[in-house]
């Protein structure tokens, strides 16, 4: 008897469920999903990415939106981990019916999301996922709906090697890398490749893990090896730790890194004398750069009320969102199929430079080399691809 009641409830619920299927969302607005790791191992990356993207959306909305439609951001926590990222992507695509996704930050989350987005015909632009597999499938074909706003690994690694060899005259280099972080690993791999191809020697290659805080074992080896440069293409948190400990151990070899160094939280005293490849220089007088830094600082304050300084993540998220919205504007319709074509042929002047996309949907832009000196990050050189 009891079970029959339960069964009928089951049937009833199914019916209710069926009837509750949401109606198509109201028009007159464009939904843009932002997938960012707001929890998980690196919440700070998520927060900065979200803030950068929201800054762009706010600017557009202030100007009257895109195609006369208001832009509605939908923020989802994707944890920099495949499962939650996939759930977030499925949710925004199927539940919220979005056609455009900005995100994810980490490649390991962006790759599974890109497969879903591409299959569903949703335009995805990842601000910071550097793994080539994000835009190119395992079959070697480019995914038509997937783009990115950042350099891919080979580019920065190559630029770093070129700079070390030509500008710093380095003959020997030591590489430090985190095997678990594909960004770091990719840069390190291509640095090694280019550097040896150009005739340099890698005198040591040591890996650490993201949760390490004590690098003395590796630093002791660096002290032993006395390389001309140390390539450390990780994020600023690791850079802060390593360079500080290196200073304390009296290591004088300069450190070279990638755009992960770009942050207001970079410990400029410790990293003093280091170089890194980046998309732009904050000293750059271009209005795009100056306006963005100002607008971002006005919109976001840190816990003390001081204006926040955008880092590479915020900048790239800002650019990625702008690229997307410009592409929609150019396509002239809220239609992902048209937007993706517009995007592929876009030329856009962003904070991180003048951007066009190559056939693999990677941005073509020049890299800037910055030097950390006297507590500031100074422009050093421009290297073109």
């Amino acid at each position: 008897m009891k079970s029959r009641i339960v069964l009928s409830i089951l049937v009833l619920l199914t019916v209710v469920l069926a009837s509750c299927t949401p109606a198509a969302p109201a028009q007159k607005e464009i939904k843009v999903a932002i997938l960012a790791p707001l929890s998980g191992p690196v919440p700070t990356f998520g927060v900065m990415t979200r803030d950068g993207a929201l800054a762009a959306i706010d600017e557009w909305n202030a100007k009257g939106g895109v195609l006369g439609m208001k832009i509605v951001p939908i923020v989802e926590d994707s944890q920099c981990t495949p499962d939650p990222a996939v759930n977030a992507a499925n949710k925004v695509i199927d539940q919220d019916k979005v056609h455009y996704i900005v995100g994810e930050v980490c490649s390991k989350a962006s790759i599974p999301v890109s497969e879903i987005a591409n299959a569903k015909g949703v335009v995805q632009i990842s601000p910071t996922s550097t793994n080539p597999d994000v835009t190119v499938g395992s079959d070697g074909k480019v995914k038509p709906y997937i783009f990115r706003a950042c350099f891919i690994d080979p580019f920065q690694g190559q630029v770093g090697a070129k700079f070390a060899m030509e500008n710093l005259g380095a003959k020997t280099a030591f590489i430090m890398l985190d095997q678990a972080n594909d960004y770091v690993k990719g840069l390190a791999e291509f640095f090694e490749k280019s550097f040896t191809e150009m005739g340099g020697t890698i005198v040591g290659k040591e890996s650490y893990t993201a949760t390490d805080t004590d690098f003395s074992a590796i630093l002791a080896k660096i002290a032993e090896a006395k390389p001309d440069v140390v390539y450390l293409p990780d994020y600023y948190n690791i850079v802060n730790l390593v360079t500080k400990q290196a200073k304390e151990k009296g290591i004088t070899s300069p450190f070279i890194g990638g755009d992960g160094w770009d942050s207001s939280d970079l410990d400029t005293a410790a990293a003093d004398g280091g170089y890194f490849t980046n998309h732009y220089s904050p000293e750059d007088p271009r209005p795009e750069v100056q306006n963005f830094v100002k607008a971002f600082g006005e919109k976001y304050k840190d816990e003390q009320g001081n204006p926040k300084v955008p880092d590479a993540l915020a900048t790239l998220a800002y650019d990625a969102t702008n690229l997307l919205l410009t592409a929609i504007q150019q396509a002239g319709a809220d239609d992902p199929a048209k937007v993706k074509d517009a995007m592929a042929g876009i030329t856009y002047n962003g904070v991180s430079g003048k951007i066009t996309f190559d056939p693999n949907h990677n941005p073509v832009k020049s890299a800037t080399i910055l030097k950390v000196t006297e507590g500031k990050v100074k422009f050093e050189a421009v290297v073109n691809p």
Partner: protein, 373 residues
């Protein structure tokens, strides 16, 4: 630990287990391999080896401070307090706010303008440490009251799950913008780092100048950590051996009902144990932040886990055990990082743990299990 044995142990003729030699052979092979790795590298480059040992010591002494809290809490309530590592994190953050936001370490100079610089730094730093310890203590006691005490009679696993919950909460609540923010924050030290190298005597390293080849370097932070950790160890030994509350802690951890019959307020003693552990974690957090000078809300997870493993290795519940276990862990990690490869560090650490437990099921200093019924 005092060892008192009234009568000499008699000769025991345990019947020999069959095929035991296979396992012993295996152990000997593993030990020989490890020994070969260590000794060959020691001979190859004794200076580099010493350098690794020094960094292993620094790591080990930090672990020791956290491990004490784990071991005491486990000893008294048999709870793996996963939130302990996060208390450690809060300690680091409190000191960060005290130093970079409120300049607390500068108060002696403001209050007594004529004070000598060295003394001011010492007093200021100690104030910061005390503040962190106090905040950690208050937090740990609150956690204990809210999350653990109501579950004292529930299955042990329930308390463990709430411990994991508290740990998540502290990490992600701390990561909210208006709390600690999710950023990786560079930490301003309350005092300057001074490093030395040893080669024909001890010399100071000046900035931008590499120490000569074949020298061992160390810094004042290393010395402070070692001293603080040893001091904490002695303090705890004193507390547990010679004070009323310390003896009560041991009595409570041994037998709660009997302790209650003595009039010992068991709940208060448990809270006190949490408080002491948290105070050391807070101190450890400050020293850790000073040493590595970068903080974020998840920094406690891994040191916490390592410290717990160290406590288990040394024999959980035993204070000297936690200390020795932590030092072993530190050395194992540093030498693995130096000679095998960094990622294999955890594998080596856990292999050592498992082998030690197989040979001594309750850890190095653990008391043997009680007689079965």
């Amino acid at each position: 630990m005092q060892k008192v044995s009234s009568q000499p142990s008699p000769v025991i003729h345990e019947p020999k287990a069959s095929l035991a030699w296979i396992g012993q052979l295996f152990l000997v092979a593993v030990a020989l391999l490890a020994l070969y790795l260590v000794v060959s590298n020691l001979i190859k480059n004794p200076i580099l080896f010493t350098q690794f040992v020094v960094s292993g010591l620094q790591l080990g002494f930090v672990y020791a401070m956290i491990a004490l809290g784990y071991t005491m809490v486990y000893g008294i309530v048999k709870l793996i307090n996963f939130a302990h590592g996060d208390v450690f994190m809060v300690g680091a953050f409190v000191s960060f706010y005290a130093v970079s936001r409120f300049n607390l370490h500068k108060w002696p100079e403001t209050a007594f303008p004529g004070i000598s610089e060295g003394l001011a730094v010492v007093i200021g730093s100690i104030t910061v440490m005390l503040l962190s310890m106090i905040v950690c203590v208050m937090m740990a006691v609150t956690i204990e009251r809210v999350a653990y005490k109501p579950l004292r009679d529930a299955p042990r696993i329930a308390a463990l799950i709430t411990a994991i919950g508290v740990s998540f909460f502290l990490e992600f609540f701390g990561a909210l913008n208006f709390v600690f923010s999710p950023r990786f924050i560079p930490y301003d030290r309350p005092f300057e780092v001074v490093a030395w190298y040893i080669k024909d005597g001890i010399h100071r390293i000046t900035e931008g100048q590499a120490p000569p080849d074949n020298s061992v370097t160390f810094s004042n932070i290393f010395i402070i950590i070692v001293l603080a950790s040893i001091l904490v160890q002695f303090f705890l030994q004193f507390l547990v051996r010679s004070t009323k509350i310390g003896i009560a802690m041991r009595a409570t951890s041994f037998d709660k009902p009997a302790a209650r019959l003595m009039g010992i307020e068991v709940d208060r003693v448990i809270s006190f144990t949490f408080a002491v552990g948290a105070a050391f974690a807070g101190l450890g957090g400050v020293l850790y932040a000073i040493a590595y000078s970068s903080i974020y809300t998840q920094l406690g997870i891994l040191p916490g886990l390592k410290a717990f493993v160290a406590a288990v290795l040394g024999g959980i519940g035993s204070i000297p055990g936690a200390f020795v276990g932590a030092l072993i862990m530190g050395q194992a990690e540093a030498l693995t990082m130096g000679y095998i490869s960094t990622p294999m560090r955890d594998a080596v650490a856990f292999t050592i743990l498992i082998i030690v437990l197989l040979v001594r099921p309750t850890g190095i200093f653990g008391e043997p299990e009680k007689e079965k019924a």
